[in-house]
Symmetry: C2
Subunit: 340 residues, 2 copies
DNA sequence: CTGAAAGCGCTAACAC
DNA sequence: GTGTTAGCGCTTTCAG
């Protein structure tokens, strides 16, 4: 049985198409009998109004686009989960896309979503986009008058609603926590040194050091590229200086660091403490379990979706753009110790 | 600047709307000059044909729906990743939905997606749906003539393309592996005892036992409900009998079991071996690292998407439905040992 | 080479 | 209470 349309039903009963439309929408204009018999027929034949036609008419698709750099990362999965949940609760569907950290793919996807298929867009910039700092595609999107909310990986050059993690503070807090615990030489490993997020965390780290008059040593800042051998970099680091603690800007990386240290028979946390970012499942299960910074991904997703939908549904009266800053929490586990 | 339409451009040049349509589509019917100037204008003003209007006209949205029970699970995330990748490569977008293992939510979502917004659907049944075995919503969907591919959690009662994991064989293989290693009393913990997948794995487990004339002991089969205290169940199990090995049907559960055993000072694998299902990130990082069954999630996603898109693009000539069975691999790590 | 018109499925004035 | 009509943005015959 092919998809049923209003026209089909109208023909079947020998009435006009608008009568059927009104009937299925339970419009009181139509006599009770006619309404009932049409509704019964519609139900029996599983009539569903064509949402594409409705979208064209109403200029609203009730779907929102989501572009994240990758889904294979606990933080983004969490955010995505939060977005999906609140969007659904508010009657929206999600079109989900991945930029794979690639600038051209992001440009392409943003372009695609600007063609009227979404009522709004949630985006976290790809690493490459942030490195290039080329955001023309975003400006074009905004010009098309479609609401946009940026989260986590944002850009100052883009004017729109934003939800960000308090990464400066988080970098500061973690470092301070380690300093307070008696650590002196604190290294930091980052795979996202070009992203806004990575830079802020490093700044926070530097701020905490400066406060204690500890000079920043760039050799303690490990910038790890995709295919770099982390083990080798860590080996060099340990040869260079006695290290008390390592901050890793990613959960996997924190686990990798732990793994490498263990394989070198270095005791964690007795000899070196580790703190990682993104409090996912790994951190709890490795041993020693890892002290982590939680960014509250699910909450960020919910907040982002709510801000976007509020703006979608409020078109007309312009509300100034806001930037919400979500605080992080330090989840203390076994990978950090206090040096007396 | 509001979204530009063909009409706007037509007015701007004082030509007809169909001329503009042909011009932007680079139709040779239109003179080179006119084409060029219109194309130039369109590009400068970021004209993008409204995809909703196109969808209505072409009766094709170039999007496919994906409904998974949950995204917060490594296997489904992997499958999703595979789907997204190949769908994008073939020019399709993804509308992603989660059933949250809930029957009503699945019914609702399937209904939503049957209203013309997707060209096809990829679905893995929710736990509740499989328990209830009520699949009327799926039948209705199929009646609407929209291609459907089921993966992993499928149902015999539904006639459509399917991609499944060879769970019977996987259950058999894991059990046999443990038996060959000298294990006698092998327990199995499952949170998905109502799902097709869970049942098949248990059948495979039973087959392997039967082959060795080991009677199946239902007390060794732990059915864990959402809020059950796993630690307590394991304690009872260990009190009941000397256990040589535990098979866990989920990665988190395997890690939990490991955790519980360690906390009881039971050596893994010296005293008890563990094999888990779903080879995610956890398994590699816990210690001892876990021997796991890999279901090749990404490949399943790619395969599923390809089958669906082939069917979408082949409408007309009917190809018989296929069921593809994807074999699993056992990834041996440190949580299993051989008893001499 | 360009334009008029129909139509995808639906809703909402506005007639009757 | 029911029907007619216009139109959302686009493509595609078919005339001119």
């Amino acid at each position: 049985m092919k998809k049923l349309t209003l026209n089909d039903i109208a023909k079947h009963f020998g009435v006009s198409i608008s009568t059927v439309s009104k009937a299925v929408n339970d419009n009181a204009e139509i006599s009770k009998e006619v309404r009932d018999k049409i509704q019964k027929y519609a139900k029996e034949h599983h009539y569903r109004p064509n949402r594409v036609a409705l979208s064209l008419l109403k200029k609203s698709t009730k779907t929102i686009g989501v572009i994240v750099p990758t889904i294979l990362n606990y933080f983004f999965t969490q955010v995505f989960f939060g977005i999906e949940k609140t969007a659904n609760a508010r009657g929206y569907n999600i079109i989900s896309c991945t930029s794979d950290e690639s600038y051209p793919k992001e440009v392409h996807t943003v372009g695609l979503l600007s063609a009227g298929i979404v009522d709004g867009l949630i985006l976290s910039l790809s690493h490459e986009t942030q490195a290039k700092a080329n955001i023309e595609h975003i400006s074009n999107f905004i010009d098309a008058q479609i609401p946009l909310v940026l989260f986590d990986r944002v850009s100052d050059k883009i004017e729109c609603d934003k939800v960000i993690v308090d990464d400066l503070q988080a970098g500061y807090n973690t470092t301070k926590h380690l300093l307070n615990a008696g650590c002196k030489n604190i290294a930091l490993v980052s795979e996202i040194y070009n992203s806004s997020v990575g830079k802020l965390r490093v700044s926070g780290y530097q701020n905490a050091l400066k406060e204690r008059n500890i000079p920043f040593d760039s050799k303690l800042l490990l910038k790890v590229k995709k295919d770099d051998d982390l083990e080798l970099l860590i080996t060099f680091l340990l040869d260079y200086k006695k290290i008390d603690a390592i901050i890793a800007l990613d959960e996997m990386m924190a686990a990798d660091v732990l793994y490498i240290l263990k394989s070198k028979n270095i005791k964690v946390p007795e000899e070196i403490s580790i703190i990682g970012f993104t409090n996912g499942r790994l951190s709890k299960y490795v041993s020693p379990s890892l002290t982590m910074v939680s960014q509250h991904g699910k909450y960020i997703g919910e907040l982002t979706a709510n801000i976007l939908i509020d703006r979608i549904e409020n078109k007309g009266d312009f509300i100034p753009y806001t930037t919400k800053i979500v605080k992080t929490s330090l989840i203390e586990r076994e990978s950090t110790r206090s040096i007396k």
